[in-house]
Amino acid sequence: MPKASVVMPDREAFPLSASSSGEARPEGGSWLSELWRFRELLYFLAWRDVKVRYKQAAFGAAWAIIQPLITMIIFTFFFSRMGKIPSGSVPYPLFCYSALVPWTYFTGTLSQAGNSLVGNASLITKIYFPRILLPAASALGGLLDFCVSSAFLVLMMVYYRVAPSWTLIFWPVAVMGMVIISLGISMLLAAMNVRYRDVKHVIPFMIQLGLFVTPVLYPADAGFLPSGLKRVLALNPLSGVMEGFRASLFPHQGVNGRLLGISITIGLLLFSLGALYFRKAERTFADII
């Protein structure tokens, strides 16, 4: 019978876990260092989600492109029939698709992360790790699809002969904004879903609604929008992300500074709210999940 134990290299190589005391969770700075310690698990959880998704999906990687592509085709068809939407200096399909890429990331992350806690209930009740890793893994995993659909976006830009200008350096900033806002809302919804199980049914509805209140299919300063409504729509943090994406990718695409400012502020607020609510609710996950 094979020996049960194995001679291991220096144990110091593998750091010790923190001791836990009555009030358990580490606070503030040590919370961040704990997350750092669990970074490998974050990677593995994201890797698991992605691998499983691709093994099960009929078209695999192609699905990452097909979804925004088909949406773009449908809407282009409709809007070219209904009436022109001013898409600035770029053709409408490109205009539409370029915002659909981050939008698809947002909706995908939200759906996956929203149920990530309840869906991994068996992990939560058996193993210790910072629970935030679960929605974070969804956010991380979604980046792969995002990269695939972004690659297709590059192809589209080549096709339409649109070359980016110096503003391209802002593209990573827009991506970060996209991730932060998605993660913020996901944390909030994921934590709420543990307590109130009908939240996961609210998410698809929110997404449907969101598509129309976010300047994905139309520019933020579209003429047909009454100015009062425009101000309200500016409160949507994703507006800034969409406009930011378009501004960074396409030349001569101006961006409304005020809009961007409001968006960023609200986005950060949402993120903080999500994180705080999550940490507070985390204590009871294992008990009520």
């Binding site: 876990s17 499983v52 199980r197 294992a286």
Partner: protein, 441 residues
Amino acid sequence: MSDSITVERLSKLYRLGQASQDTMLRERLVSLLKNPFGTKASPAETIWALRDVSFSIQQGEVVGIIGRNGAGKSTLLKVLSNITYPTSGRVNVHGRVASLLEVGTGFHEELTGRENIYLNGSILGMKKREVDLKLDAIIEFAGVERFIDTPIKRYSSGMRLRLGFAVAAHLDPDVLIVDEVLAVGDAGFQKKCLSVMQDLRKGGRTVLFVSHNMAAVENLCSRGIWIDSGKVRKDGATHDVIESYLSTFGGSDQTSADLSGVESRQGSGEIRYTGIAFLNSEGQPQPLTRSGDSLRIRFFYHANQPIPYPSFGFRLTTELGTLVTDTSTWHHGMDIPEIAPGDGYLDLEIDFLNLLPGRFFFSLWITGLSHNVYDGIEHCASIEIELANIYRSGKNIDSRSGIVFFPQKWVLPGAHTEQVSVPEALPAGEGRKWSGHRTDF
């Protein structure tokens, strides 16, 4: 020896009926609208899963946690593993902790065995580097080399179990917390589990072990903690704690049976059995009898008239009807000149019960000189014999190993072997002997 685990006045409160309290957001919103500043309508029912639990465990100790289902053992382990938080009190665990509350946590069906090893390893707290180094050993331990790159949805449940345990076995933690992992799996798997835990013990690791397998607990653990209804009922040497725990089993209905009311009996009835009781050597009720224990069976009778030279006897059968033994006072050459009318009793003293665990039925009879039957009742009482560490090896010797056992020793000429079982009956102190000779049947 430094403290590995300290628990101070740990308490954990659970709210009952949480499932029915506003689990839907729409309900919550509605109740908020109706009653924006009101407090909760009715205080929820609560239960203390743990109450004022305190103990401390030194580095290197192997402690068994025992108790009935629902006593709070798993909750205690969850708190120690940082999965759930105390309502009050403090918990301190030092060193690298690995919790095995379930084997194969996080396994995903679609991933291959190899992929699941990495995933499970990471979940349990191993770094990827560590898994890389131990990968071959893990695969070998699990015995799934041929299938390591097949998705585990194709694995049998036994393979899954072995794989999950293989990863856990290579964890190398300072503190290992194990919850009834041994309860699942076949004998081979359980053997492997035990050997891993023994290795850990030899390596000076602290192990906290929850199990219902008393033989394993007795064999592995130097110390036992009995949790009953959320409190520490006893904390001390394993054997004592297990004894105390098992003695609460059974209840008074196990110790005696009233036979006076039994209708379906044969015989002329001048003398009849009225009761049977199972006692210990002091004549007190013995609610729990284990393999190898001593036992005194008291037969109560009532005689209507003087009875000359009666013989009292019984037949012991298994649940399936196999005759274990058929004995009587006549077989022992015991002459009872006469039994006076009235009530009385007769004892049968057994020093060492050679029965393996199981339920055994009594059929009793009283016969006279010319083999006439005064009283005969079939299957009128039963006794449940419990598990015991009879060969002192920690192995689970139960009814699958037969009906009886006997003290024995294996001898292999010319080879060095290790054997922990003793050739004699249980030494004094562990069994309760009151006579020097063994009972002859």
